[in-house]
């Protein structure tokens, strides 16, 4: 009954899509790019179905696949100096119509999140947004626990610094008005 097993596995994967989309959105911000990343991860997962042990939630397996695709691409991009193909630019993101009214505060924090390094961003998002434990996140990111810990600590510090800078700039703009 290979196909019955297959159907069960596919159903389990389908259930994870909302979580995968959220992770991708936090990593990439732009909705279409994020969904492209999800789609590629799903396609890769399907051809590697045998790597997923039945009886286990596919969540960590899928997150691992997605993370590899993400980091791979970030590496290619930085190697070729084409960060412009990524929607990292705040002004570009502002031009994208938001599905919900994005408050100034949440826009600022999304901007800040996109500015921290991909490795730190991934670690922080996995733990702070996705709620994985350090041990789970370290496994999925393929780094030792100590590395994960310092990425989280540095990521949070970096985020705080960026938010403080934005707040200062906003204060200056208000004064200038």
């Amino acid at each position: 009954m290979r196909s019955a097993v297959m159907d069960e596995k596919k159903a389990a994967i389908l259930q994870e899509i909302p979580r995968l989309r959220r992770y991708a959105r936090a990593l990439l911000r732009d909705r279409d790019s994020a969904d492209d990343l999800v789609q590629d991860s799903l396609e890769r997962a399907l051809v590697r179905m045998d790597n997923w042990r039945t009886g286990e939630s596919p969540r960590r397996w899928l997150f691992t696949i997605m993370h590899h695709l993400f980091i791979d691409q970030m590496r290619k991009v930085s190697r070729r100096g084409e960060a412009s193909i990524l929607p990292l630019d705040a002004s570009e993101a502002l031009a994208t119509p938001a599905t919900q009214a994005e408050s100034v505060a949440s826009r600022e924090i999304v901007d800040a999140l996109q500015q921290i390094s991909p490795d730190r961003r991934a670690a922080l998002v996995m733990v702070a947004i996705e709620g994985f434990s350090y041990a789970e996140a370290a496994t999925m990111l393929g780094v030792p626990a100590g590395t994960l810990m310092s990425r989280i600590a540095r990521g949070r510090e970096e985020l705080r610094g960026l938010l403080d800078d934005q707040a200062r700039r906003r204060a200056i703009r208000i004064v200038e008005k």
């Binding site: 994967i13 389908l14 899509i17 909302p18 979580r19 989309r21 959220r22 959105r25 936090a26 279409d32 790019s33 969904d35 492209d36 990343l37 789609q39 590629d40 799903l42 396609e43 890769r44 399907l46 051809v47 790597n51 042990r53 397996w61 691992t64 590899h68 695709l69 980091i71 691409q73 590496r75 290619k76 991009v77 190697r79 070729r80 084409e82 193909i85 990524l86 599905t99 505060a105 949440s106 924090i109 999304v110 999140l113 998002v125 733990v127 702070a128 947004i129 434990s133 350090y134 496994t139 990111l141 393929g142 780094v143 590395t147 810990m149 989280i152 600590a153 949070r156 985020l159 705080r160």
Partner: protein
Amino acid sequence: MNARSFTDRDIHLALDGELPEDERAAYQMWLEANPDMKAKSLRYAADNAALRNLFVGVLEEPVPSRLEAAVNGDGPKRKEAAQWWRMAAAATLLIAGGLAGYLAGANGIGFGSDDDDRMAELAIAAHQTFAADKNRPVEVDGSDQAYLTGWLSKRTGLTLVAPDLTKNGFELLGGRLVPANGTTAALMLYADAEGNRISVYVTTEGTERSKGTYTLASGGPEAVYWQDKGYGCAIVGTLPPEQMGVVAKDAYKQLLAGAGLT
């Protein structure tokens, strides 16, 4: 654990639910006694809450049909135009291999992903078998490189060099022959001062141009691989991703140059 002193690292542990239960009371007292740390902890907690709130709506959004179709296998496969990371890869191939390579890659004939996986899996298996062997990881040691590469080249049918990875902190231990997918592959092992080992796996296997990274779903070492028609190589190890990328690329460039392929 009575006299443990806390640092700002513990703020992260506490925030992420990683602080052991029996340390929490002492941690709270430490926070109360250190207003700076308490302020920091409140600030991080607020930022964390803001982060979590950012994307709650995503879980409620209807799943785009193309994603469901991708799982059910009835969707349009690999819509290149939308896949920016594939475009970047294809563009690199274009530079490396001319238009034919580009078209073959971008038309999405499958990107040879099964072949990639197979090669990466073999390279990881070889790494796990031999790099883990403390006493006898290699058949021929690296002291006579000309002999080593001559032997490996002859047996694999490739023009092989042993990449010099000393500037990445890795010294050549030596090499051995390992089975490939129906042929013979060369495995060269390297170690750094801390005893971390990486391996360079080279084979004549390879069908289409592709590259990527691969890790078994069960975890373990990462393979960074490149392949082309009649050539494949994978660098395998358990290093932080950035370092892995740098070392792998360096090794690959030297292999290509040594084979006269650049």
